[in-house]
């Protein structure tokens, strides 16, 4: 039962990732693209945790942590660049 539920959840998250990618390509402004990229990072972390449950190995969470961290840093850098025209003043 759990295996089927994991596959259903993976499908739902894949649809979510596709919707994010659509907004990433379409987004009228750069801020829309940054927001789509941020959501893409968070959903990718969720997909990796789900894959860890699917394979039954608990060492995938480090990859999820790393992706969440990189997503936050890159979102902050991009938003800062749009705000100031520079990242580190």
């Amino acid at each position: 039962m759990l295996n089927a539920v994991v596959l259903i959840a993976l499908t739902m998250l894949s649809v979510a990732l596709l919707l994010n990618a659509w907004r990433l390509f379409r987004g009228p402004d750069a801020t829309d693209r940054i927001l789509a990229l941020d959501t893409l990072y968070i959903n990718a972390a969720a997909v990796i945790v789900l894959y860890g449950i699917h394979t039954g190995r608990s060492d995938f969470f480090e990859a999820a942590l790393l992706i969440a961290l990189l997503g936050f840093v890159s979102t902050m850098a991009l938003a800062k660049f749009l705000l100031r025209g520079d990242i580190i003043e």
Binding site: L13, A16, L19, T31, V49, L50, F61, L83
Partner: protein
Amino acid sequence: MMLHLVNLLTAILLLLGAGFALVGSIGLARLPDIFTRLHGPTKASTLGVGAILLASILFFSAREGLTLHEFLVSLFLFLSAPVSAHLIARAAIHRRCKSICGAPEDP
């Protein structure tokens, strides 16, 4: 018996989390302007990923003894999501993005 209960709880949490993430992404794709789009994923995604991480904690704690390191990811996401949402909103105001409530005023 105990493992069945844990599996059931894990399945419910997984469906809940994936559903929240999907709703947040639909909001990101469908809402009309950047300020309303910001509303969807920043709340729904953190809650969705939080539920999925809780499911992962349950799943691995029942099999390999108590493991809480997934809490690190959810703690980090709960701390960082408002900060990045705030910065994106400020950038959108700074760039005078179109809003459904008319032009944003000077901050």
